[in-house]
């Protein structure tokens, strides 16, 4: 047996390029569909893990996918805005804890996530350096955001304008970094967290300025109607919140009308979850409630359909490749007729000669299969890292 394998091995080594080509082809045929399956499986688990951990999302009627992607992964396109009254509605229902989310603004490419302290408890986010949010105008950085911005407790981060062309729109706000979070291995690592009220300050709904009742602010007064002072556009609004001007910050209008991108609702149990979902079934309701995992599964269903086509294509190509390989082998048998005759004449039995030919095929197939298995193992071990890196970009 050893001699048969030796002769087969020497033949394959002599014709190394043909051997490498055949082994490479077999490897690809076997690895492509399996590796793709493993990657898709890992991707769907990565994408659904965060959705799995998020019970319910409430937002304005529109695309559920946009709502989920913006709230869970802080995508740059925000959904249609809903109102703070939706968070109050959840509180009043007694069916869950609302966590308001306002993910609209950015600072040097990093999403600014306006929320409340309950979000940190919910996601299990711990502060690694400094402290958590306490005062208006403060921010806490995710670990990767801190690294990318080169900022830590005591530094400042300035929000970006929403549009270069909207000069009367959102002004940049200089925010004080008070803390950096532990690495969470999620979208939270790239985010800049602020209190939702600070996000409203960025939008200009909450602002601070001189006291209009004071004589030195007279230039900013357009007129007076009874007890109402009407300010003109020259009133300078603070673009940084400090200890000195903090108390001047105030709200205009009704808090219930203030905008949010979503409300994350955390019901205490399945029954409360079902009851809460039942309250949003009316067609006249301006809000929708979605289960993130269902939305992600719909998205992944589309991806899996595409994957099935790709795998089917890979299988067809694989069969064609195998057929080609078989043809190459059969042709090579014909070309090696004199070689086989020589082996027979020097004392090799028919069985031995057939074994040499068969061994060559087995070695090529086994090498290809082993390489494919190795690549599949590597994919399963490191594929999730590659996926996370891809999701971050």
């Amino acid at each position: 047996m050893k001699q048969v394998v030796y002769v087969a091995w020497r033949y394959l080594a002599y014709h190394r390029w043909k051997t490498i080509t055949l082994v490479g082809a077999i490897t690809l045929i076997v690895y492509l569909p399996i590796g793709l399956r493993v990657l898709v499986d890992q991707s769907s688990r990565q994408l659904t893990a965060r959705a799995d951990a998020t019970p319910l999302l409430i937002g304005a009627k529109g695309s559920p996918l946009e709502l989920v992607l913006n709230t869970l992964y802080f995508g740059s396109d925000h959904p249609a805005l809903t109102r703070y009254s939706e968070a109050m509605r959840v509180t009043e229902s007694g069916l869950g804890t609302p966590i308001p989310m306002y993910v609209r603004f950015r600072a040097r490419g990093h999403p600014i996530v306006g929320t409340t302290l309950d979000y940190f408890d919910f996601r299990g986010l711990e502060v690694a350096a400094g402290r958590n949010l306490a005062m208006l105008g403060e921010c806490v950085l995710g670990s990767r955001a801190a690294e990318a911005l080169g900022a830590g407790p005591g530094d400042n981060v300035v929000s970006s304008t929403e549009s270069v062309f909207d000069i009367a729109g959102v002004y940049p706000l200089k925010m004080r970094v008070v803390g950096v979070l532990d690495f969470a291995d999620s979208a939270d690592d790239d985010a800049i967290f602020v209190d939702v009220k600070t996000a409203w300050v960025i939008q200009g709904l909450v602002h601070g300025h001189q006291d209009l009742n004071r004589p030195e602010a007279a230039a900013g007064v357009l007129g007076r109607e009874g007890n109402r002072v009407i300010a003109n556009a020259s009133v300078v609004q603070y673009n940084e919140i400090t200890e000195e001007n903090l108390e001047s910050f105030h709200f205009h209008g009704d808090l219930s009308d203030y905008p949010l991108t979503a409300v994350l609702a955390v019901p205490p149990d399945q029954k409360a979850s079902a009851l809460l979902q039942g309250r949003y079934q009316s067609d006249e309701d301006l809000a929708q409630i979605v289960t993130p995992v269902a939305v992600m599964e719909d998205l992944l269903g589309t991806i899996l359909t595409v994957e099935r086509f790709v795998v089917a294509g890979a299988v067809i190509v694989g069969l064609a490749t195998l057929a080609t390989a078989a043809l190459v082998f059969l042709l090579s048998l014909r070309l090696r007729r004199r070689e086989r005759l020589t082996l027979f004449k020097i004392g090799g039995s028919r069985l031995a000669v057939a074994s040499v030919m068969a061994s060559e095929v087995v070695v090529v197939l086994a090498s290809g299969a082993l390489l494919a298995a190795g690549l599949t193992l590597l994919t399963s071990r490191f594929g999730s890292l590659a996926i996370r890196a891809l999701l971050r970009t």
Partner: protein, 318 residues
């Protein structure tokens, strides 16, 4: 091929354990709004006003540790805590808010909303809007910043009872095993508050049309509860009023001939004397906004009731 299938199966299991870690990590964080202390531990409560601290202490007894961090020499209505104090508030089991715009500093800090208890939230229909508050808007069509809502809700004993009831309910949710004790504490407090209410009603009934003055606009809920004919000025007990202020007061007295002015604390002797010349006597009715040097909210209110009784009995008492 069999080896390959075994390898693929092993890869599948490895993938499952990876995802279980990431789901578990997120899932462990899935609970929100749970009181920080263990079930048997003392409930830690922070309040934004002294009356709420008093109510919490009466209801909770030794099962509750109540903190009200405003300094004694500061008016808590205008106090703002620093970041360290805000962090202390964040770490408690419950934060008792008054509502009605009291403690406006809470609008400018981050507090865990799942632990906030808005004690007067259910009485928004009884809030008193301060009519002459100055507001502002940006541009003629801009939304206005809200005018002031009077916030001394605890001066109406019936509203104080409702605030205490909300506190009792919040305590019972956080520590259901002590619900009976909280009910007992609330019942005793309710009796005391309703007793105050009864006595005040009797005093005012003796002369329901009596005109009164308030040195400061802090008695709106007292006036609303007992239908007091009260007009406010802006005198400070420790500062002499300006000539313009005296002029305004004379103008008020012409159409509102009051004979008693309620003060938050003893006025300056010169001020009291000048008021007497105008036919107005002074009586202290402390709003009980901060911890007294002696006694507590109830003893302060009982002293208020006695002094008001004197005023309605028309016997000047200092």
């Amino acid at each position: 091929m069999a080896l390959l299938l075994a390898l693929v199966g092993a890869c599948g299991e490895a993938g499952s354990s990876d995802s279980a870690e990431s789901v578990g990590e997120a899932g462990a964080a899935g609970e929100v709004g749970v009181a920080t202390g263990a079930e048997g531990s003392t409930l830690l409560v922070y309040t934004v006003s002294y009356p709420l601290a008093y109510f919490a202490e009466r209801i909770g007894g030794e099962r509750v540790r109540v903190e009200f961090p405003a300094p004694r020499d500061v008016d808590p209505a205008f106090w703002s805590p620093g970041p360290e104090t805000v962090v202390a508030y964040q770490r408690t089991d419950l934060i008792l808010l008054n509502g009605a715009g009291y403690a406006s500093w809470t609008d400018r800090v981050s507090l865990p909303s799942s632990r906030l208890v808005a004690t007067a939230a259910g009485m928004a229909d009884r809030y008193v809007v301060v009519e002459d508050a100055v507001t502002h808007s940006h541009g003629p069509a801009g939304e206005h910043a809200h005018g002031t809502i009077a916030f001394t809700t605890w001066l109406d004993p019936t509203m104080a009872v409702e605030q205490a009831r909300t506190i009792r309910d919040a305590f019972a949710r956080a520590r259901p095993q002590h619900e009976e004790a909280f009910d007992e504490g609330f019942a005793e407090l309710e009796r005391d508050l309703l007793d105050l209410d009864g006595r005040l009603s009797e005093i005012v009934a003796a002369d329901s049309a009596r005109a009164l003055l308030a040195s400061h606009p802090v008695y709106q809920y007292l006036a609303a509860r007992y239908d007091l004919g009260m007009r406010s000025v802006h005198f400070e007990p420790d500062e002499p009023p300006s000539p313009a202020m005296w002029r305004d007061l004379r103008g008020i007295l012409e159409e509102h001939p009051a004979r008693w002015m309620l003060w938050e604390a003893e006025p300056l002797p010169a001020t009291a004397s000048q008021l007497r010349e105008l036919g107005v006597e002074s009586v202290v009715f402390s709003p009980a906004g901060n911890r007294p040097d002696d006694g507590d909210y109830l003893s302060v209110m009982e002293a208020n009731v006695r002094r008001l009784a004197t005023a309605y009995g028309d016997t000047p008492e200092r």
